[in-house]
Subunit: 367 residues, 2 copies
């Protein structure tokens, strides 16, 4: 699709800055020798690191930027300080200008999303963006969105997330017909917020070419019950961090239990291979890379605290979505939503807004 | 406080019915020889089981009921079919009548909450009930509420949850000053839903005798950053099930990794003790028992799929909260909320409702 793909990199983003970015690009460039990088950052810091990574240097164009967005900058500060001048802004702007097919940043999520919205704008038929994460499951991986961009989307926005997430799953998992579920607190139709219930009705009764599985619950995330789990950014973000925390907690229990006994330590030596497998399975670096969906251009967010291996995984995601023309696929799918809102929502602005209200569940309201 | 405590048991609730209930009561009665049980259920089914558990039989009064609420009954069905006649209804009603200090049921949550609301009503100064769960953490255990009773509480209702959850933590953990956090998608004041932000402001600026830690995130649940985590029932339910699912997922990874290699199996034999410790740490039965808070009477929900050991843990929770006079403590604390709403919310009904609306986070709204 893309003859020669260029990936724009925010060289200064992340907890560890250019070290992580360049070593990630190094790892990725072995897997993708044809990809070019367009790196933005502070010359005095980035160039010495590039010298140590000749493979990246050869595959890259470097451009100096004066301003770096810090991990603590509020989105408003970032926009004030970093507009047109920061490495983050310029990486996204390179996508807007067509100089790059996709941008990657490990910078702070709020700032990155705010800038991406300003520069790229939302696509036609999309009201709010979503961040789609890859979630390791017992069956492999699922796409979960939104994990933090949009708090309190209404029903039709959840349907838009479903359409975009399904397209992303097709591309990233290379499957034709991903299954889609809506995250809820029960399987029954009467459960959940008004927006979730209405979104389910829309997905069920629509003729969208989506395999809608219905509601899924929190424990379905780890099981991998569906390929795509749709939720609001508040719930998705908390679920994601809860899962990360629980995995670390269990890992901690395990190492405590083993270090407490002599025989367990011997057992550990024998089972080293198995523990290595386990660690690999649980390695959050493997599923690094959150894709911003709904914007008119591709941006991938790397975890800020990751290392080169994790950053390379985010670059892989970026390359996958850009070379598979994810934007084009989403645009085509979203066309199917024309007239959709009118079909399902009562006339007037009220209908669209009403769905965002959260209400008491029917069973409790009974009494 | 309570000279002789009677615990009312819904003998027919749960996936496995009276077998689990009676064997749970048997285990609990060893730990609490002074506690009496008031058991409701179908005589033809329960009596033969009681014969096999003479210790429970001796500590119990049994009353026949014709109707059992099934795990699939919708709350409305349950109320129609089971009003005044079912084992679930009668167990709760025994609390209302003062015949028991607390009721335990493993029946379906929606039905149990609907009946409990009808029979017991909400307390003064409480608008909506919450279900408080015990959450295993790296530091021990935390209280998390609400995990499913109230979808979309407004800010003042979240403050009520904080007050009730703090009182519960004092009782169940036997600590004087539990710390309280609000579950959110970031630590910063600008993040989250309107109701979460306003609730934080209320807790921060009020003179409530609560140690308010501020916002906590999903990964703070497993860390045990605070003793009490306050959230809405939608998010709390999904977080709880996500954590359960993730723990199972990691356990599954571990057993797959070990069963795949000969040396790992040998290692497993040596490390058996450690794996036993790990299993005990991760045993969901140990933290079984969700307390309904905000009603004028105590009801404890046991997990429907648990066994006798898990059911006994729910009875333990019930005994703890009843004998520590949790209701009285909550009533006293809630008195401090008189005039609270007026202080923090703009006049008119609108203010109370507005807080329940979920809105876009400020950083995204910027652009």
């Amino acid at each position: 699709m893309v003859a020669e793909l260029t990936v724009a990199l925010d060289g200064m983003g992340g907890d560890f800055g250019p070290e992580t970015v360049i070593s990630g690009a190094d790892i990725a460039s072995v897997r993708h020798p044809d990809v070019r990088f367009l790196i933005f950052g502070d010359r005095a810091i980035v160039e010495p690191i590039l010298l140590k990574h000749p493979r990246v240097a050869a595959a890259s164009t470097f451009e100096h930027t004066d301003v770096s967005i810090s991990m603590d900058d509020k989105p408003s500060q970032a926009l004030r300080r970093g507009r047109r001048t920061s490495s983050m802004w310029k990486a996204i702007d390179a996508v807007k200008q067509g100089r790059a097919g996709v941008a990657v940043s490990a910078g702070n999520t709020g700032a990155l999303m705010a800038m991406a919205k300003v520069i790229l704008k939302t696509m036609p038929n999309v009201e709010r963006p979503a961040i789609a994460a890859l979630w390791p499951t017992l069956r492999g991986e699922s796409v979960v969105l939104d994990v933090g961009a949009t708090i309190g989307p209404h029903a039709f926005q959840l349907v838009q997330f479903a359409v975009m997430g399904e397209a992303y799953a097709r591309v990233i998992f290379n499957i034709e017909k991903p299954t889609v579920g809506l995250l809820n607190i029960g399987q029954e139709e009467v459960k959940g917020t008004e927006s979730v219930k209405l979104a389910a009705q829309m997905l069920r009764e629509s003729s969208l070419p989506i395999i809608f599985h219905g509601f899924v619950e929190g424990d379905d995330l780890g099981k991998g019950t569906v390929d795509v789990v749709v939720t609001d950014g508040f719930t998705g973000n908390i679920a994601l961090k809860t899962a990360e925390g629980t995995a670390r907690q269990v890992g901690e229990y395990l190492s405590q239990a083993i270090s407490r006994s002599f025989f367990a330590k011997i057992g550990y030596v024998f089972a080293q291979g198995a523990f290595k497998t386990l660690r690999a399975k649980m390695d959050p670096r493997a599923s690094n890379g959150g894709v911003f969906l709904g914007l008119d251009g591709l941006v991938v967010k790397s975890h800020g605290g990751t290392d080169g291996i994790g950053y390379a995984a985010a670059i892989d995601v970026a390359i996958d979505v850009a070379s598979a023309n994810l934007l084009g696929k989403i645009r085509t799918d979203l066309d199917l939503l024309t007239g959709f809102r009118e079909r399902f929502m009562a006339p007037g602005a009220e209908a669209g807004r009403k769905a965002a209200d959260v209400t008491e569940p029917p069973e409790v309201a009974l009494s």
